[in-house]
């Protein structure tokens, strides 16, 4: 039982990171209809910037957190303005190819700007172990699960109650009519890219806190993308929960069946789920393109 709980909690913790990045995918898809294949790379860059702030400016948790959020906003806005906006109105396939190209560029920029060695992000937080009963949990793991839950609630409220949130849903549903109502689609897209970059970036920073920074970190995106598909590409909250599901499945399979299964288990589950619900667990039925 204790072994199971331990697996469950670490599964939830890594799942929360997948979930955050998956929500990044979903926010962009929901308001622009695009899959951003550079999501994992953007996550990695934000984490590296957080590390740079912690080593050069200050190791204070709050300064690093605020600095990383600002950096993520800027990163999202710049990519939207410079790369994505000129592609507006072009075929979806071409635009998605652009994000793949962007991914490769961002990936190698790590080697140009930083280096190829692994680094630890140390902000004096996250690696202490707390005991709950007989189970040891790292504070970073608790923090990432709490952060995911708080963000899930905040995003739900944002889409439900705020004018801009409702406008994002309106643009996603019918962008031309939204234009007729005076809603600027480009502004909504810019906001989506910034928000997505921040949400995913938070996941990246938490990953760096619990594990390591390395140029291979972009693979988080490859793990998180299935979480989005599982939850529903257009379902932001569903993607968050999809991440948790993948994290738990991975860990339980790795713990009980064998470590080789860990990499595969998530994908096996996705194939099974998509056979039954091709639009994801929480997705809307009428999605027709990926």
């Amino acid at each position: 039982m204790q072994y199971f709980t331990q697996l469950l909690i670490s599964g939830l913790a890594i799942g929360a990171i997948y979930g955050l990045i998956a929500m990044g995918f979903a926010v962009i898809y929901k308001s622009t209809g695009l899959v951003n294949f550079a999501q994992g790379e953007m996550t990695m860059i934000t984490a590296y910037i957080a590390w740079t702030i912690s080593t050069t400016v200050s190791g204070n948790v709050f300064i690093v957190a605020i600095g990383a959020i600002i950096a993520a906003v800027v990163l999202g806005l710049v990519i939207e303005r410079v790369v994505m906006r000129p592609m507006l109105g072009e075929p979806v396939f071409a635009t998605v190819m652009v994000t793949i190209g962007l991914a490769v560029i961002l990936r190698s920029s790590i080697n140009f700007i930083w280096d190829a060695y692994p680094h630890g992000l140390d902000v004096g937080f996250g690696r202490t172990i707390v005991r709950i009963g007989t189970i040891g949990v790292r504070t970073g793991q608790i923090a990432v699960i709490v952060t995911l839950l708080v963000l899930l609630a905040a995003i739900w409220a944002f889409f439900r109650y705020s004018k801009v949130g409702v406008a994002m849903r309106a643009v996603a549903a019918d962008d031309r009519t939204a234009l007729l109502m005076g809603i600027s689609a480009t502004r909504v897209h810019a906001l989506a890219w910034a928000a997505s970059s921040v949400i995913a970036g938070i996941g990246g920073v938490f990953f760096a806190l619990s594990y390591d920074l390395s140029p291979a970190m972009f693979q988080l995106g490859l793990k998180a993308f299935p979480a989005t598909i599982l939850g529903g590409l257009d379902a932001v909250l569903g993607s968050g929960l999809g991440g948790l599901l993948i994290g738990i499945t991975e860990n339980l399979a790795g713990g009980y069946i064998g470590s080789g299964m860990k990499e595969v288990a998530g994908f096996v589950m996705i194939i099974v789920v998509l056979m039954i619900r091709p639009f994801g667990i929480f997705g809307e039925r009428d999605i027709e393109r990926v």
Partner: protein
């Protein structure tokens, strides 16, 4: 002899003299899609302040294209205003972004209503008031609910489940949220029951009479439109073939035959219609 044929020049003529103050004016406009398809050819239309102008014509005549140009959303369909101008209050507006046009008071209710189906009625209205401050939006919302009490009753329901008539009311209400000076309606009677159409047209008349709104009405249903309008234009394959006061148009034999379905000569075969159209095209 059934027809007197007019050249498009007669429609352009009023602008040759020193123009009276028009709220909205299309002047010698030409619109091209995809750099290849000419949808509108040398069209001039004037909408004076405070009245209802009807834009009539069959499918594909270019009525919706003109409205899209007015709202600045042609670019979403690769369309472009190649030459000519659209002016609103004597300022050129055909290069402005859609949200700027809404801020200036031009709004359109798109064809097929286009309510946001997954949003509630209240949220749909909120989107109409997107360019307004919270206080202004609250005021507008009350005006809309006073006009359409039905929307108030169902304000928390999802718009996609409403009937066609209710959706049309919501679409009009949503447009009114922008506090427009000029309200353009694209086929407001499309797919609605006659009784519902009556209600919609009552509302349009009230908007003109009580709120002093200027209305640009695009319709295939010429009878309805000419009943309410002050002035009308008839579009055919991208150009104005006829214009005049609504009374004059309704009395015109051509219009009666081809748009109002009134015939003086008994039954007509389709061949006559085709022949007439061909002849008219040659002569214009």
């Amino acid at each position: 002899m059934p027809t007197t044929i007019r050249t498009p020049k007669s429609s352009a003529a009023p602008h040759a003299m020193p123009a009276p103050e028009h709220l909205l004016e299309f002047r010698n406009i030409r619109i091209v899609y995809d750099n290849a398809i000419e949808a509108i050819r040398d069209v001039s239309i004037a909408v004076p302040e405070g009245g209802i102008v009807a834009l009539l014509g069959s499918n594909g005549a270019g009525k919706s294209t003109l409205l899209k140009a007015m709202s600045g959303i042609l670019y979403t369909e690769e369309g472009v205003v190649e030459s000519g101008t659209i002016s609103f209050r004597n300022e050129e507006v055909h290069r402005l972004a859609p949200d700027e046009l809404v801020r200036r008071g031009i709004v359109q209710v798109p064809e097929g209503r286009r309510v946001f189906p997954a949003l509630t009625i209240d949220e749909n209205l909120q989107m109409g008031g997107y360019t307004k401050t919270a206080a202004e939006a609250r005021d507008r919302r009350e005006t809309v609910f006073a006009l359409f009490p039905r929307l108030f009753e169902r304000r928390d329901q999802v718009a996609g489940y409403m009937s066609g008539g209710e959706q049309q009311m919501l679409a009009i209400g949503r447009a009114l949220m922008t506090d427009p000076v000029l309200l353009a309606l694209d086929e407001p009677s499309l797919g609605l029951a006659p009784l519902i159409i009556d209600r919609i047209y009552e509302v349009i008349a009230r908007l003109r009479d009580e709120m002093k709104m200027t209305v640009l009405l695009v319709e295939q249903n010429a009878q309805r439109a000419l009943d309410i309008a002050d002035y009308g234009y008839i579009l055919e394959t991208g150009r104005v073939v006829l214009d005049g006061t609504a009374k004059k148009l309704a009395a015109n034999e051509d219009v009666q035959e081809f748009y109002l379905g009134v015939s003086h000569a008994g039954r007509k075969s389709l061949r006559d219609v085709k022949h007439y159209k061909r002849r008219k095209r040659w002569l214009s």
